[in-house]
Symmetry: C2
């Protein structure tokens, strides 16, 4: 069979993304049809169902698919989806929760998100705050009550434990606190040694966005009964992809436009946030991204996975790096 | 043996409460010694370790003790404590989380709590909001990782599922939304039929404070392997105690003083909040409290539990009703 052209591969991957995004959207709608108290669920739906790339949910599905392909009798695609979808959707709910809280006046004070008014501009600060809490709690409930009973209860307990860790003080919430603590101090970080600056940047990224991305890949693999060697490769890959995703985000803040971003660009620079781009500049950030791309691709080709099984994970890394929004 | 005098029984019960409160405090300190990010854990500790009655944790312990006493070979007190303490402490963390968020300017905008500055007045709104989130997540982690391995994993999964429900849209967060939605509309509720008013009041109470109180008693009993008949009695008792606790709280808002309350009294009336007292007045609220006290005591004497096993649960109901803070 001849190798696919770049264009053909690109079309294939677009279809791959679209199909999974559609499944995730449909399932999220199903999980969020409740109406009591009405205003709370409206607010929850407003943010969860406002589009977005669904990258975290798709990473969860793709990791599950990569592990499934290696099984003696690979399960069918819809079996993989059924097993993983509650967790994939829970991750999107947790992510939406963090965006609602981030946009509040007490934190980043953003009026727009994905080209629409931020949750608190539509529902008020009180309901937005509570909808963020409700999504965090409901995400747990979805994993615990919607994951098929064929999954071992100890795996479900492990998922909820790791999700709490990924979101808690050593994860997302800790990263949000670091982000606040270092906002405005970009000059101080710039003048510190390269090594200190790197450590600080990696720590903030690792927690703020990295922890949930790591959980996305880990949980998908775990649900399909991944071997330790597979979990190990995926964890390293997740660290690489998470950092690359964040640096690409930081670059978009200086190169993106409001239309494709759906939010105001230039805010990091204005707020003197500590990001790869504000500390090291665009040129060096792009070089680091290229390194991460090479590292990530090499990790998946180290012999643990069949190369064919990780085609989509590789494309997802490249997508995280080269996206325009 | 002669029956104890009222004074003797009162001293016994005070000792009972003090001893359990001390254990809970010590264990909470142990769970909260982390320091990274430092400001986040400081903020979490500030609110969790600021005193309080620890009523919810003690209800959890007392329900466990009542069930334990009925066992063929009753476990020792310290075995009961070891089994239940992670869950009892998690409940206090969730409760503290809700108080931090309630006090934020976006919600009740309170500057004081338990006679000390509110969390957001000390740490700022951003850290307070994130500390509330962190406590919600860490509570789950404590149940999942600190409950002794002798407890069946399916029981632990049930605890986390029910905690998410007790806190989520149909529980605490839903109650906070209702509370907001009906703040200011006390006149409209007063002029509605008694039946509608009752239903609305019970719905708000049932969620806002009732759900976590129900979880406290249920989880303690469940951890000790309670029979369905025991869980059933305790659920009804929890509903009675939860409502009584809330009406007593509403009464304290009009009769309490700032020193013993540790917060500004009269705020419900000022904000035209829908409470038993603002809708029906103090007289009728006191009558309802008396009914609830009688109902609650009768429930525990219906033959499912040995009367001696529920002495402390009965005292806890009376304490919830007759307290001065």
């Amino acid at each position: 069979m001849r190798e696919k052209t770049v264009t053909e591969a690109h079309i294939d991957f677009s279809e791959y993304l679209d199909r999974r995004r559609l499944f995730v959207e449909q399932r999220l709608i199903g999980y969020l049809i409740a109406t009591d108290p009405d205003i709370l669920w409206q607010s929850m739906r407003y943010s969860v169902l406002s589009g977005g790339k669904r990258l975290r949910a798709i990473l969860c599905l793709s990791a599950a698919e990569a592990v499934a392909e290696a099984a003696a009798v690979p399960p069918k695609e819809n079996e993989v989806f059924e097993t993983v979808m509650p967790c994939a959707c829970a991750i999107e709910m947790v992510h939406a929760s963090s965006l609602i809280h981030d946009d509040l006046p007490a934190l980043d004070n953003d009026d727009y998100r994905r080209g629409k008014l931020a949750n608190h501009k539509v529902f008020g600060e009180a309901v937005a705050l509570l909808a963020g809490n409700a999504l965090l709690l409901y995400a747990n409930e979805v994993i615990l009550t919607k994951t098929p009973s064929s999954v071992d209860p100890s795996v479900i307990a492990a998922l909820v434990t790791e999700l709490a860790r990924a979101c808690g003080p050593m994860g997302m919430v800790g990263g949000q606190v670091d982000d606040l603590a270092f906002t405005g101090s970009v000059d101080a970080v710039k003048s510190s040694s390269d090594n200190d600056g790197d450590l600080l940047l990696e720590r903030i990224h690792c927690r703020k966005t990295g922890a949930l991305i790591r959980f996305s890949l880990w949980s998908g693999a775990k649900l399909m009964g991944a071997a330790l060697s597979e979990l190990d490769v995926l964890e390293k890959f997740a660290n690489t992809l998470g950092l690359a995703f964040q640096i690409a985000d930081d670059l978009l803040d200086v190169t993106g436009d409001i239309k494709s971003l759906g939010k105001t660009p230039g805010k990091d620079v204005q707020a003197k946030k500590v990001t790869w781009v504000t500390v090291y500049g665009s040129e060096r950030s792009r070089r680091r991204l290229k390194e991460l791309e090479n590292d990530g691709l090499a990790l998946l080709d180290n012999g643990v996975f069949d190369p064919a099984a990780t085609t989509h994970l590789k494309s997802l890394l490249q997508y995280a790096i080269h996206r325009s929004s």
